[in-house]
Symmetry: C2
DNA sequence: CTGAAAGCGCTAACAT
DNA sequence: ATGTTAGCGCTTTCAG
């Protein structure tokens, strides 16, 4: 069916070794024979069998991408970014979606990537020492997005700083009664963004000298519906916050819906800030913390390419910046509960005497 | 590094041939030796080299998935569905994102999937005869989602019927001045959903005896921003429609934003219906035509598995049903322009004497 | 039920 | 610059 290297060799009147060299652009082949071989190959429609060259060289020209979910906005974008640069460099993408605890266990047990990839890109999955060990046994370069792991290239945002910025934005507007919708801190998948964003929430609260309030610490499971449910719970509580910080835009969307359904208005009655700058955030006029998503995928992809193309560069850890995007869901609290005199800036923000949090 | 079959054979005191049979569950191996071999393999952590068995058998245990974009809601979901069933059946996924005209050309020219996959799943990419030919040369089973191609398993919705339902819903409510936001009919990628949905729009118009109106036929490029831009154009036209049919929810979201920005209200001033039942549709209370997305991916995946596991079933064409989801963005026109007496049903729909469109 | 041996199609030393 | 010759690690007749 498909032409073999031997046929090309015969047609060009050379040995298979020369064909191999010529077609891979290696030196030690005269230009004239190379041209002859290239012609013969084209005429025969020859393409080297990946399996054979893989067996001979050990290289697969494939990168494994391990992701919790393919069908979430964030991951889809990161994959797209990584795919673009890897494809450009001639690599294929082997996709593995871990999904849940079960799938994760299976992945690390069976290691379906073993012998199939030259490198692995990990998305947002913090590894247990055992898992890291298993992955290392593959003996290929590793990189990750949304992780801060030793021994592999990592590109991520500073979740703590981003969350702090969100909280400071609310505080600057004059808010003190701020609720948090996060969640997933106890999930088996163990993402770190949820944990860090929540920690920052508490840190800023304390810095503002506001007592902890368990009723203001909600679990929205990082989903739209979860965010809505959490907000609904919040709205039926004894005391209402003047602002809500949702640790992801999707949860903020859900919260938005719950607030509207309750007849309240954003930001008049409650301010709301999200995190991620989801593609829908602009549409819903949601104030949020933006992070570059596609770029993180690209950066991680490039790291792997660098590792793969010989230069034994030390795996680096890149932190990309987040940015506060002020839209229409945040404003100063109407029932002025600010504890210090505040003036309004041209941007409509109140400047209160914030402690240096 | 990794244990080889020979080592297992030696440890179990048999030949590599027997190891091969035993580990793959083939017959003609006594249970006692099989057990011994399995033990030896486990102790050595042996896993067969994919490259080697691939070279020997020609099978890759991998399915190629060719998709226009990874980072669109629809495709992400379909991939997730397909991945689940294929993974379950022991197949890996090789992802190829075609993206644009350029990437598409490269894909069909280089055929990076050649020799790397046992089957190919195509998403929403109608093929030119030449492309189909190239793909067929791979000599592997083909399946598609969102296509109606001869010679491969296809699973899709009836776009025409769905669009007709959307239009009839508006017509039943009493709307006659209905605009359409679609687009991409001229895109090089040549998806068919845009074309069919638009054709149905015109068909129902004519059936309602409403003259064609070029000003009501907008291009929203199947993106959120495009939808917004199209709606903005529409709002600045001489004559306003009482309803808008957006061929995708994402464009409907954009339209929604444009309408709100203009100070008009949905559905009081303008009714709006979308298509797809995007995850955000419920949040935005958008009336739409729902289609099963994950299920289409699963169905296509199963088709491939069937083809692959011997049963030489004829590639079938499955059409899954769509469903009208009535939410809050559609209502009877306020300025009653109905041409026939209408009564209101318990569901709030007006029943007008619709011609049988 | 098991083993010997011949590939699968390519690459990489080593010769020439 | 080119050819020879071993593998790479598994599968699969074909014998036994």
């Amino acid at each position: 069916m498909a032409a073999s290297q031997a046929e090309v060799a015969q047609r060009a009147g050379v040995s298979t070794a020369t064909v191999s060299r010529a077609l891979r652009g290696l030196p030690r082949v005269s230009e004239t024979t190379r041209a002859r071989i290239v012609d013969a190959a084209r005429e025969l429609g020859y393409v080297a069998s990946p399996a054979a060259s893989q067996l001979a060289t050990g290289r697969t020209r494939t990168v494994g991408v391990v992701v919790p979910f393919v069908d979430r906005w964030f991951f889809g974008r990161v994959i797209a970014g990584a795919e673009a640069v890897l494809r450009e460099a001639g690599f294929n993408l082997l996709l593995y979606s871990v999904g849940d605890e079960n799938g994760r266990a299976r992945f690390f047990e069976e290691m379906p990537l073993r012998g199939r990839v030259d490198a692995v890109l990990l998305l947002a999955l913090p590894l247990t020492p055992g898992e890291f060990e298993r992955l290392s046994e593959l003996g290929v370069p590793l990189a990750a997005v949304g992780l801060d792991e030793q021994g592999m290239g990592c590109v991520r945002i500073d979740d703590a700083a981003g969350a702090k910025t969100a909280m400071r934005h609310l505080a600057t507007l004059g808010h003190r009664d701020i609720a948090f919708i996060g969640g997933g801190t106890g999930t088996p998948l163990g993402f770190r963004a949820p944990v860090e964003r929540r920690a920052a929430y508490f840190a800023v609260r304390r810095c503002l000298a506001v007592d902890d309030d368990p009723e203001f610490d909600l679990d929205g499971g990082f989903t739209l519906n979860g965010g809505q449910a959490a907000m609904t719970r919040l709205l039926s509580a004894r005391r209402l916050p003047t602002a809500v910080f949702a640790a992801s835009d999707e949860m903020a969307f859900g919260a938005l819906r719950a607030i509207r359904r309750s007849g309240l208005h954003v930001p008049r009655d409650i301010s709301l800030i999200g995190f991620d700058d989801h593609e829908m955030a602009d549409l819903l006029d949601l104030t949020t913390i933006a992070q570059p998503v596609v770029q993180q995928g690209q950066a991680a992809g490039r790291m792997l390419i660098t590792q793969l193309t010989g230069e034994t560069t030390e795996p680096e850890a890149v932190v990309v910046p987040t940015e506060l995007i002020i839209r229409g869901t945040t404003a100063p609290p109407t029932t002025s509960t600010t504890r210090s005199p505040a003036v309004t800036t041209p941007h409509g923000e109140q400047v209160s005497n914030l402690p240096a949090c």
